[in-house]
């Protein structure tokens, strides 16, 4: 079995490794200790492109609810709030990213992890996540093109 799946975004092939789990808001969650390490999937990084700035609005060691606003990201393509993927506890942030958020671009599946997270929630497998991408990709393209046409 292949260690990773791919999802075609036009010419670009987003890698979706099978050694970890996923969330509906395009994060990967890789088992680490008694929790998970969380980061952006290649799909979300492709949409963000170069990351310039990342800021968190909560301290580490905070209990969060699914969809709670926890931070903000600025990239060459977007300025967006960031939301917790599931109910759980954010135990630690990746301090390397405060000085150099470009690790999200250069090594998004390893050194560019965002935070460590503990949750009891049921997560998506790589296969389920790719299915989800199949479902949302058309709509995402329309949203992006719509926004570009407006500006």
């Amino acid at each position: 079995m292949s260690p990773e799946l791919t999802f075609a975004m036009g010419q670009y092939e987003a890698r979706i490794p099978t050694d970890r789990l996923y969330s509906e808001n395009h994060l990967w969650l890789k088992p680490e200790g008694d929790g998970y390490r969380v980061g952006f999937t290649a799909y979300s990084v492709r949409l963000l492109q170069d990351v310039y700035f990342l800021s968190w609005e909560i301290e580490s060691g905070t209990t969060v609810r699914k969809k709670q606003d926890i931070g903000e990201i600025e990239s060459s393509k977007a300025l967006s709030d960031l939301f917790a993927p599931y109910d759980g506890d954010i135990t630690r942030f990746n301090s390397l990213l405060m000085d150099d958020p470009s690790l999200i671009n250069s090594d998004g599946y390893e050194k560019g992890w965002l935070y460590e997270f503990q949750t009891e929630a049921e997560l998506l497998t790589a296969e389920q996540y790719v299915e989800l991408l199949d479902g949302v990709w058309e709509k995402t393209q329309r949203v992006i093109k719509g926004q570009i046409n407006e500006s």
Partner: protein
């Protein structure tokens, strides 16, 4: 020669956005080549600790300062004040279109506050680098301030001919110097590690360790608005606020503040508490009182009032600390409980509508 040259300090963005860096560097390089003003770059103001060399440099500036940063001017001015870098507020003519609308409102509500203390007779002009995407308006504004501030002492010819002094040329060739704490404008000898200086990495403390700048979160008091009513000290249950020897409110233990929590600024009746990094412009120190000018219909649909929101935010932080939530029972200003809050909101909104002349 001019006795006190104008000093222009550019406080760098936290973001690695190349457009931000370009703007900072273009302004710095142009001003250095003009030779008319002293120019320095320091890390992001809000993140510098009090003994950071950039902060010590700022404290050492004797004369007028133009302070350009990625903050609202009000937020920058009062953050400087809090760190002992005081002066009279220099009036800048640099405003983007949005500011213009707020300006008349802003002028009407001045001088109710208790003001700062020990304000030296010099001016601090705060410019918002987010107002314009190119350097020209900022360079023009610096020229205008120079002519306004020291008409009689400035040697205009050397400016026009653009003869930079040796040390100015040196700084131009080694851009982005972080200055030593001695305040004499001499860049450190190791100032040539190009570009890595952002976030203070290029600055070196006296012990030779690189100076770290980490993200911080704390309130900044605008004393031109603060009436010393003490509602913030009653409301905050984390011991952030205190009083000084003159019984004036101050941010005493800023590191007790809970990251992301802006609750006390919602409680302040004068909008005098600024969290420069908050997403909401009114809380981050935007001109005027945007919260009151723009109608927020979300309250009609069940959103909490500002005080309820503040109590919720405080409860979240209390529970996170393993303490009990207190809801609206502690430190909530009496003005709300004595009145019919619901009717109040409606009245406010109708007043706002009338004011807008719709």
């Amino acid at each position: 020669m001019a006795g006190k040259k104008l000093t222009v300090v550019i406080s760098q963005s936290q973001s690695k956005n190349p457009a931000h860096r370009d703007l900072e560097e273009t302004i710095a390089a142009d001003l250095m080549m003009s030779g008319e003003v002293e120019v320095s770059l320091v890390p992001h103001l809000y993140d510098m600790s009090r003994d950071h060399s950039g902060m010590l440099f700022l404290k050492g500036i004797p004369g007028d300062i133009v302070f350009a940063s990625w903050l609202y001017p009000r937020a920058a001015f009062w953050t400087l004040d809090r760190d002992g870098i005081r002066g009279q507020e220099g009036i800048t003519t640099l405003h983007d279109e949005e500011d213009e609308e707020e300006l008349s409102e802003e002028n009407q509500q001045q001088a109710n506050g208790i003001g700062s203390v020990e304000v030296p007779p010099r001016k601090i002009y705060c410019l918002d680098l987010r107002s314009f995407g190119d350097a020209e308006p900022y360079l023009d504004e610096v020229k205008r301030i120079v002519s306004e501030a020291t008409t009689q002492t400035v040697d205009l010819m050397s400016f026009i001919q653009g003869n930079p002094k040796q040390e100015q040329l040196e700084r131009y060739l080694n851009p982005l110097p972080i200055l030593n704490g001695n305040g004499n404008g001499t860049p450190p000898a190791n100032g040539a590690n190009n570009g890595s200086i952002q976030n203070g990495d290029g600055a070196t403390a006296s012990n030779g360790e690189p100076e770290k700048v980490s993200r911080r979160w704390y309130p900044v008091i605008d004393y031109s608005r603060c009436t010393n009513c003490m509602e913030c000290i009653d409301f905050c249950l984390f011991g952030v606020y205190g009083v000084d020897g003159l019984d004036r409110i101050l941010v005493d233990e800023q590191d007790n503040c809970k990251k992301g929590c802006p609750a006390c600024s919602r409680v302040c009746p004068e909008n005098a508490i600024i969290f420069p990094q908050h997403k909401s412009a009114a809380i981050a120190g935007a001109p005027g009182e945007i919260g009151n000018l723009k109608i927020d219909l979300s309250q009609l649909f069940g959103a909490p009032t500002a005080l309820e929101q503040a109590a919720l935010e405080r409860d979240t932080e209390l529970v996170a600390d393993g303490r009990d939530a207190v809801g609206m029972t502690v430190g909530i200003p009496k003005r709300q409980t004595e009145e019919n809050a619901e009717r109040d909101d409606l009245d406010d909104m109708l007043d706002d509508l009338d004011n807008l002349g719709l």
